[in-house]
Amino acid sequence: MAEITSLREAVATLVRDGDTVAMEGFTHLIPFAAGHEVIRQGRKNLTLVRMTPDVIYDQLIGAGCAKKLIFSWGGNPGVGSLHRLRDAVEHDWPAPLDIQEHGHGDLSNAYVAGAAKLPFAVIRAYAGSDLPKHNDKIKFIQCPFTGETLAAVPAIEPDVTVIHAQKADRKGNVLLWGILGVQKEAVLAAKKAIVTVEEIVDDLSAWPNACILPGWTLSAVCSVPGGAFPSYAHGYYDRDNRFYQAWDAISRERDSFQPWIKAHILNTDNFEGFRRVLAESTPAGVPQ
């Protein structure tokens, strides 16, 4: 049953060192505030899962929270490389990072298998690809009915899944819409789930087929308005493309990354504090 609580409390009680943590959101609704809180509370040795590790995982990896990354595409969308991810993979900084690499169809359906409590997902892919040579979790199996060779990947079952959504009601039922990515599957695959939301309302006024995560499937719901910034929340605010662009320069060197993460995340109390410091350090202010 979801407890409506602060993000600080949710991370403190639900995310432990060494956990497998999935933070999902496909460009849209990326749980930045929650990611920052994990950094702020100094979690270590996490196995991070995410289809598209972008700026938020670059921050977590650079801050030394991760020992392993399970992913299918790692880049700064529309901008270029993730410099902190590359530094970890290419130079073991700030620590060696194990990587387990998949494709989107594979990883998204590994969450489906996790949600269904099946041991693996089956897909038609990877014949001839080098990925299975470097990821021993990708196996080939024969269909018992047709004999066809198919690829199988183990279910993803995170200790904790963290997502951001538009709304929750006072019972902790969560509504999200727009680009849904793999959030519902990632939540249902996990042992525990934290959801940050733009607002908590009396009535979700949702239509029958809306994407709802019932409160009883969640561990904690936290009101964090703007908590997906600099990504976007459909119906609330747009993506701040300028931040993604700015991240390229901030993250490029260890010497520019370290003071940034200290000033903006480690030395701030919460996401509001982060937004305030960012506004002060950005001449144009924080959009939205």
Partner: protein, 262 residues
């Protein structure tokens, strides 16, 4: 039309790629160059083209080019938005995609694709973003069209990593492996258009863009590139194609706060 309009090499690449998409085709679109070309096709000769983005929108009609694969305007203009596992499971693997339209960091003579690493996998010289949806698209789309700028660094003799398969080692290799789709049918660059030879599946130049010499193409290819018996000249972009593309890019720049997409 009054005379030959002036255009850039990047513009003719986009125009030549757009022309390959038929009206009504269901097209699974990668971000960047493929997305630009697919939307140009939609705004010119192919108004009924169905654009699918891997983030979930089906039938997206974005008013400006998306900067990322999950921009809000894709969801707002789509016929429907489904979850990411569903996009891959029902729509791509379900055999509903006519054309997979992809970019690449590196390709080889059989249009195999590397988007993973340059150098050794464990100790890469350059770590690239990785697979994304490309391995599944390259397997399952009925046809694949690749769009990328041509250089000897991108068109290499041997890939450091095969992320997504083209024609493997050529011939009927795809059939032997049981891959459902036909694989790459064209590679469009800023210099030319290549198509796989019907028997060997080796990429062969079938069209040169106006003013491009064969030596330029050979120099920008890391293997000894072959030319078809008859090499056509790519028709220059029409003024409608150029105006539509430039309008789209102008609107896009304004919408994204003049960001330059690298």
């Amino acid at each position: 039309m009054t005379g030959q309009p002036a255009y850039t090499t990047s513009e003719i690449m986009t125009v030549a790629a757009a022309r390959l998409l038929k009206n009504g085709a269901v097209c699974f679109v990668g971000i960047g160059l493929p997305s630009t070309a697919a939307n140009l096709a939609r705004l010119t000769h192919a108004p009924d083209i169905v654009l699918i983005y891997e983030s979930g929108p089906i039938g997206a009609k974005p008013p400006v080019l998306p900067l990322s694969i999950g921009d809000g305007n894709l969801a707002e203009t789509a016929d429907t938005v489904v979850s990411t596992p569903e996009i891959f499971r029902y729509w791509l693997q379900g055999g509903r995609v006519d054309v997979g339209f992809l970019g690449a960091a590196q390709i080889d003579r059989f249009a195999n694709i590397n988007t993973t690493v340059i150098g050794d996998y464990k100790k890469p010289a350059i770590r690239l973003p990785g697979a994304g949806g490309a391995p599944e698209i390259a397997s399952c789309a009925r046809e694949v069209v690749l769009v990328l700028k041509q250089s000897a660094r991108a068109f290499v003799k041997k890939l450091d990593f095969v992320t997504s398969v083209g024609h493997l080692d050529g011939g009927n290799a795809r059939q032997r492996l049981g891959l459902p789709g036909e694989g790459p049918v064209a590679v469009v660059t800023d210099l030319c258009v290549m198509e796989p030879d019907r028997a060997t599946k080796e990429l062969t130049v079938t069209q040169l863009h106006p003013g491009v010499a064969r030596e330029q193409v050979s120099k920008a290819t890391g293997w000894e590139i072959r030319f078809a018996g008859t090499v056509q000249e790519t028709p220059a972009p029409t003024s409608i194609e150029l105006e539509t593309l430039r309008d789209l890019e102008r609107r896009t720049k304004l919408a994204h706060g003049n960001l330059v997409v690298s």
